[in-house]
């Protein structure tokens, strides 16, 4: 695994390898690395998901992921961040998103990681369609309102 060739903020059709992003963010000043992997869950509210389809406005999504990374590196000094999102068809237990954050101290590493997933769900133009046995639907978690209170 060559961590040097990693794109730290990427939207990709390829399966995600969490270990590569952990290695990418690890550095001698880090005492804590947190990693979040969003995985495809089979059952949601009693409904069985067969698979998911993710779609993105790719250039804007990558730009927004990088912005979240910059915000984190500013809010939590000496942190390092990588955020990658997979698109296309994903099966149960596949990893949709990986967020890796390193920090000198653990509290910041947890907080910054959670901040990243909240921001992704708010502003990054990526959509998920759930495909069940008897239908399918594009899921809209929440609307982004520029100038509104969410941001």
């Amino acid at each position: 695994m060559d961590a040097g060739l990693i794109k730290p903020f990427e939207v990709t059709k390829k399966p995600l390898e969490p270990a590569r992003y952990m290695e990418y963010v690890t550095h001698p000043g880090a005492g804590a690395v947190t990693l979040f992997a969003g995985t495809v869950r089979e059952w949601t509210n009693g409904k069985r998901t067969m698979h998911l389809e993710y779609e993105a406005y790719e250039p804007m999504a990558e730009k927004k992921l990088a912005e979240i990374g910059s915000e984190i590196e500013e809010k939590w000094p000496n942190s390092r961040v990588a955020i990658v999102h997979r698109i296309g068809a994903l099966a149960i237990s596949d990893i949709a998103v990986v967020i890796a954050v390193s920090s000198p101290h653990r509290k910041a590493a947890y907080e910054a990681n959670e901040y990243a997933i909240e921001q992704i769900k708010r502003v990054v133009p990526i959509w998920k369609k759930e495909i069940w046995e008897d239908g399918e639907e594009w899921i809209g978690d929440q609307a982004y309102k520029p100038g509104g209170e969410q941001y």
Partner: protein
């Protein structure tokens, strides 16, 4: 001319991911009005507009050559 980008449910209703339309002058609200008229079966009420990959308010001017994307509620993660 401006370049329009559709995603998720809008893309399915429009039957395409992108299209170009003639454009001289106007705002994001005007583009949205055009889209609502062109694709009346889609509910645009919670759709945001991005111009050249940046979220904008509906008062933002749209200039020829701009990329205008209709962003339905996102659901990544």
């Amino acid at each position: 001319m401006i370049h329009l980008h559709y995603f998720a449910g809008i893309k399915e209703v429009a039957g395409k991911a992108e299209e170009d339309i003639d454009w001289v002058d106007g705002t994001a609200a005007d583009v949205l009005k055009w889209a609502k008229k062109s694709y009346p079966s889609f509910d645009f009420s919670s759709v945001q507009i991005a111009i050249n990959e940046e979220y904008v308010l509906e008062t933002e001017p749209v200039k020829p050559g701009d990329h205008v994307a209709f962003i339905p509620p996102v659901s990544g993660g």
